[in-house]
């Protein structure tokens, strides 16, 4: 078995090498499609991370009227926490809010001065509500609007964030669509070109195939070198695609803000490199083998 495998791999390696330009054409188109696949995966992962990072900062703040007692607010907190979509509801008292405000504006003497002039504490007590899922904020605000404590609520701030999230979600969805269709188009072109390459290889090897049949070579022994040629296309292409991916990420690194991603693009890629390379290898080998298989079904008479 290993003997046959060894001879087969040797044979397909020679084919790959001797076909020169044909191999380059096949590999470059397959590389392109795998590059798009890889780039899309990186983009999806990055956008996913960005989205969760943004989502972590999203909350609904429910501000209560100044005369509402702390007990009423605690009851509202319990009420909200019992709602299944709510992850947490954090109570921020007037004093806490003032302290936070002062801290945030420590470098702004004008603001602090005006605060002093007003006298007392103008800030409202609030509940900071976080949802399990960002799409649930809409429901939560609706819930608050109908809740038993609705008359005690001064205002709810959510609308601003909603727009940002929606837009982000939309962009991600759109670019995912574009990426998928690009990858599919390139994959189709790659299949056609590999198909053609294997067809020509079959034609070149016609006398050899005939002799193999005559001396009683098993069908698999005749087929395997051509299948392996497809495998080689897949492997070489995914390695080249990874190289290009690394280069382009190195170039794009400076444009992507470290703040949203919390680390650089390259280091983000390296944390996922094996997974992405694995997917690329699988896709590449599948496309290569698939193309040579249909070429053989059509042109190799055994």
């Amino acid at each position: 078995m290993f003997l046959v495998l060894g001879r087969t791999i040797k044979e397909s390696g020679i084919n790959f090498w001797r076909n020169g330009w044909l191999s380059i054409a096949s590999v470059s188109v397959l590389t392109l499609s795998l590059y798009v696949v890889g780039a899309m995966m990186v983009m999806m992962m990055v956008s996913g991370t960005v989205l969760t990072n943004v989502e972590k900062r999203i909350n609904v703040s429910v501000y209560f009227k100044p005369d509402v007692s702390e007990n009423t607010i605690m009851a509202a907190k319990a009420d909200l926490e019992s709602y299944s979509e709510v992850k947490s509801a954090q109570y921020i008292s007037k004093e806490q809010a003032l302290a936070d405000f002062k801290k945030n504006n420590a470098g702004e003497p004008v603001i602090l001065q005006s605060l002093d002039e007003i006298g007392g504490n103008p800030l409202l007590a609030s509940l900071v509500v976080r949802a399990n899922d960002s799409s649930q904020y809409q429901n939560i605000t609706e819930y608050i609007a109908k809740a038993s404590f609705k008359d005690d609520v001064s205002r709810v701030n959510y609308v601003k964030n909603k727009e940002i999230i929606d837009r982000l979600n939309n962009i991600i969805k759109q670019s995912r669509k574009v990426g998928v269709s690009l990858a599919l188009v390139f994959a189709a072109v790659a299949v056609l070109i590999i198909f053609n390459t294997i067809r020509i290889t079959l034609y070149i090897h016609k006398p050899e195939i005939e002799v193999m049949r005559l001396v009683g070579a098993s069908n698999m022994f005749i087929r395997l070198p051509f299948l392996f040629e497809g495998v080689i296309y897949g492997i070489v292409s995914s390695l080249v695609a990874t190289l290009f991916l690394l280069i382009s990420m190195k170039l794009a690194d400076s444009y992507v803000s470290v703040a949203v991603l919390s680390k650089s693009l390259l280091s983000f890629y390296f944390s996922q490199a094996l997974f992405i390379l694995g997917i690329q290898l699988l896709a590449g080998i599948f496309l290569g083998v698939f193309s040579s298989w249909i070429a053989m079904r059509k042109y190799l008479k055994i």
């Binding site: 050899e208 005939e210 193999m212 069908n219």
Partner: protein, 253 residues
């Protein structure tokens, strides 16, 4: 080879221990075989004959008489439209596509146009037949020079086909056909491209191989060749057997 041994043993026990000579049983049997190609008249019509193990049969006929088609039926390149071809007792129409290579390994094939691989040396061309069947390298290194020695090319292992004469190339083909130790050699006009001297050598080699026990089916339209072999002659004309003569000179009956 195993099948033959079993059969030989069977026959030997049936007839007692006295018969140590080569047993006779039909290695090839055409049972009312008709082969028709689409739209044409039958290429072969109702062929019914047997070839015994160890025989040397010459197939004679004009081009287009159906010689090549008959040979193709033997190595299952074509299948019979009607009737059945039995090889070594096995009906060929029952062989699955996957098992076809194993059938072909029992038959050595020789062609007019050699079908050697030009980029491989003499040694490699013969070794290739074994490699393709997954034989171990040690065995290849041992068997190939031996068989090339038998056909008289022991000193030309590293030559390429184009460095050899036609006769020598055909000897390489014969070596390749013999390397599997086949039950039968099927030769389709093996001397068609050769001068009389080389042709005679090839036929002598085939006779030698036959003497060692391998069945030979030889198709030819060359009178000298058939005369030289001087064995059983089957004459085909327009897809029919018009003459089957046990020991004859070339003649159209």
């Amino acid at each position: 080879m195993k099948k033959v041994n079993e059969k030989e043993i069977e026959l030997a026990t049936e007839e007692g221990l006295g018969s140590m000579e080569r047993e006779i049983f039909p290695i090839l049997k055409f049972d009312h075989v008709t082969k028709a190609f689409k739209g044409d008249a039958a290429a072969l019509a109702d062929l019914d004959f047997e070839i015994q193990a160890g025989e040397f049969v010459t197939l004679v006929g004009h081009s287009g008489a159906g010689k090549s088609t008959l040979l193709k039926l033997i190595y299952a390149e074509e299948t019979a439209t009607e009737g059945e071809v039995y090889f070594n007792g096995e009906p060929l129409s029952q062989i699955k596509k996957r098992k076809l290579p194993y059938h072909r390994r029992k038959i050595g094939m020789v062609f007019q146009d050699f079908k050697l691989l030009p980029k491989k040396t003499v040694f490699e061309n013969v070794a290739y037949a074994l490699e393709a069947c997954g034989v171990h390298t040690d065995e290849i290194m041992e068997d190939v020079p031996q068989i090339l020695d038998i056909v008289g090319l022991g000193d030309k292992l590293q030559k390429f086909p184009h460095q050899l004469s036609g006769g020598e190339q055909q000897k390489v083909v014969l070596a390749r056909a013999l390397i599997h130790k086949p039950l039968m050699i099927v030769a389709d006009e093996p001397t068609g491209n050769l001068d009389p001297q080389s042709s005679a050598e090839i036929i002598d080699l085939l006779l030698k191989v036959n003497n060692l026990g391998t069945t030979i089916v030889l198709a030819s339209h060359d009178r000298d060749i058939v005369d030289r072999a001087a064995r059983r002659v089957i004459v085909l004309e327009k897809g029919k057997i018009i003459c089957d003569d046990a020991k004859s000179k070339y003649r159209i009956c």
